[in-house]
């Protein structure tokens, strides 16, 4: 029983981290029809910057702030430089963002080296506490709580705020939104930057749990793409449910059937794509 509770909490932790990454990916995908394959690299960039900032200042929150800011700026820079190509054909954006992912990956290897490293948890969360009869690190519990809080906050922003309505209007009908006086280009740039900075923030938040190492960028990217596909493109609810599902499937798969753990992860993806090609919460997006 303890084993299962422990794995359940592990799965939720992975799910929580995935949600922060995948929500940015799915909103950008839904809004601009861009599958940003450099999202994982932006995640890792945030992690590495956070690592260095923590090394020099010893402050975790400063590290998180710096990680989020760096990735956000990098995202903005990429979006501004390649706007035309990004909004063009599927092929071009896939190859472009993949190329950027390779460049960032190799650049980070050059700067931070190939050894896997780890961020330190902030002091007040370094203890373990006892929940449901198991002793579990409080930092991981904090991540789970944070994911639920962030999910709620994002939902309120998306569904209830005026700014959220502006973004949704751009998803549904870009031209009509522009005709109503909404600066669509501004919305695109800010959403892309916010998505990128959330990826960077997650790189830091995940640093004490997953560590930071070259290769993590593509691992996270793959899982995030899976989440977006399961949840449905552009759906925040889908990203939340998908993240928790993938987190749990991945954790239980690795713990119970290590030899076929990729099979247990990707077989459900294929099944969902075939039964519900638009994902659990997806809808047909206008071209």
């Amino acid at each position: 029983m303890r084993f299962w509770i422990f794995q359940l909490l592990n799965g939720l932790t992975t799910g929580a981290l995935l949600f922060f990454v995948a929500s940015g990916l799915t909103v950008v995908f839904g809004l601009m029809r861009i599958l940003n394959l450099s999202h994982g690299a932006l995640f890792l960039l945030g992690g590495y910057v956070g690592l260095s900032v923590q090394h020099f200042t010893g402050n975790f929150f400063l590290a998180a702030l710096a990680g989020a800011a760096t990735s956000g700026l990098m995202g903005l820079l990429l979006q501004q430089t390649f706007t035309r190509t990004l909004l063009g054909s599927t092929f071009n954006q896939v190859l472009l963002t993949l190329g950027i992912a390779f460049i960032l990956n190799n650049g980070m290897l050059a700067i931070w080296g190939g050894l896997p490293q780890k961020l330190k948890t902030p002091d007040f969360l370094s203890e373990s506490i006892s929940v449901f009869g198991v002793t579990y690190p409080s930092y991981r519990l904090f991540l789970i709580v944070l994911a639920f809080a962030a999910g709620l906050a994002l939902w309120v922003f998306w569904e209830r705020s005026t700014l959220g309505a502006v973004v949704r209007s751009c998803v549904d009908d870009r031209e009509m939104a522009a005709a109503m006086g909404i600066r669509v280009d501004l919305v695109f740039a800010s959403v892309f930057a916010i998505g990128a900075s959330m990826a960077g923030l997650t790189g830091v938040l995940g640093g004490p749990v997953l560590g930071v190492y070259i290769g993590l960028d593509f691992e996270v990217l793959l899982l995030a793409v899976v989440v977006v596909v399961i949840g449905g493109i552009g759906s925040l609810n889908g990203a939340f449910v998908g993240s928790m599902m993938v987190g749990l499937i991945d954790t239980f798969g690795k713990a119970s059937f290590p030899e076929i753990s990729y099979f247990t992860l990707f077989a459900p993806v294929i099944l969902i794509l075939l039964l519900r090609p638009l994902g659990l919460f997806g809808r047909i997006l206008p071209e």
């Binding site: 599958l35 896939v94 472009l96 992912a101 960032l104 076929i260 990729y262 099979f263």
Partner: protein, 316 residues
């Protein structure tokens, strides 16, 4: 027909190489022909049918694993093992293809990625059977009309098969089926109204590209005498997709050139720098931004320039 003759002519030109270049270069060119040919086959799917697969290395690697596992685990003789390898890839393609072709654009990309990761995961994690990350070494080459154990012998073997496959690809591309793929790409609603079964056309493109990949996968496993999960990684699939786009979709020769060029560039750079992924990344970015039509799109421009040069101003 013209293009078949060009393939044969190029084949004869390449056949001179063993007299000119060193054994090191000949080995490298053999690898380049293998991956270039794979890219040429993928052009049928990515260029002709415009379906961006990021999972076709699955079939390249799976046939290799089929051979390796049949030989090492089940003591099958080599030539029958080749048949098993090809069959394994073909079954996988017939299983994945009809499901994947129901998706479009990025959804197709993600489902091919999912299929690819699924098989890749089996080869890396199922280590009691596939030997995991370490791969399977010690696969010996089959006996053939001439000795293919030597670098030169294997080069001619690869060249012969590559010419045969290329001729098949060209005949397929110029056949009514190949031409109908272009129709499906340009307007599937119109083709559907004309009575074509869109899904079956797409499946044909998927399976033919997979079959070509599987055959080159066999050449690859015998070249290296080794198979590892790297040969069905998504990175290799992405490199093949890049080759098609950089080479110029639908031209067939462009993807071949780009696919083999990348192999040679990679080998040359890996010896001197650790920045190969960055160079590859830059290649992705630069080619997409500055050369959207691929290398093949340069040919008409160059030709026009030459004609202008030779004709001078008289004809203007």
């Amino acid at each position: 027909m013209k293009r078949v003759l060009i393939v044969i002519a190029v084949g004869f030109l390449l056949a001179v190489l063993p007299f000119i270049v060193s054994g090191y270069w000949l080995g490298l060119i053999t690898q380049a022909v293998i991956l270039g040919g794979f890219a040429m086959g993928l052009d049928l799917l990515v260029g002709f049918a415009r379906m961006p697969s990021i999972g076709h290395s699955t079939f390249f690697g799976l046939s290799g694993y089929g051979v390796a596992l049949a030989v090492t685990r089940f003591d099958v003789a080599i030539w029958p093992a080749v048949g098993i390898g090809l069959l394994l890839s073909l079954i996988a393609a017939l299983l994945f293809g009809p499901l994947a072709v129901r998706m479009r654009g990025l959804a197709f990309l993600t489902i091919t990625l999912a299929f690819g990761q699924l098989t890749w995961g089996l080869t890396t994690r199922w280590s009691s059977f596939t030997n995991g990350e370490n791969g399977i070494p010690g696969i010996s080459r089959p006996s053939f009309l001439w000795d293919i154990e030597t670098v030169v012998g294997y080069f001619y073997f690869t060249l012969l098969i590559a010419i045969a496959i290329s001729i098949f690809i060209i005949i397929f591309a110029e056949s009514p089926v190949g031409i109908s793929l272009l129709g499906v790409r340009n307007s599937d609603t119109r083709m559907s109204a004309l009575g074509y079964n869109i899904h079956s056309r797409r499946t044909i493109a998927f399976v033919v590209a997979a079959a070509v990949g599987a055959m080159y996968g066999i050449l690859n496993v015998f070249y290296n005498k080794f198979i590892g999960p790297g040969s069905l990684s998504w990175q290799l699939s992405a490199q093949m997709l890049l080759s098609v786009v950089v080479g110029g979709p639908v031209s067939l020769w462009g993807p071949f050139l780009a696919g083999s060029g990348i192999v040679i560039l990679k080998t040359m750079l890996i010896g001197t720098t650790q920045r190969w992924p960055m160079v590859l990344g830059l290649l992705y970015v630069v080619s997409v931004v500055f050369l959207p039509g691929g290398i093949a799109s340069l040919l008409p421009k160059v030709r026009a320039r030459f004609e202008k040069m030779f004709r001078g101003r008289v004809t203007e």
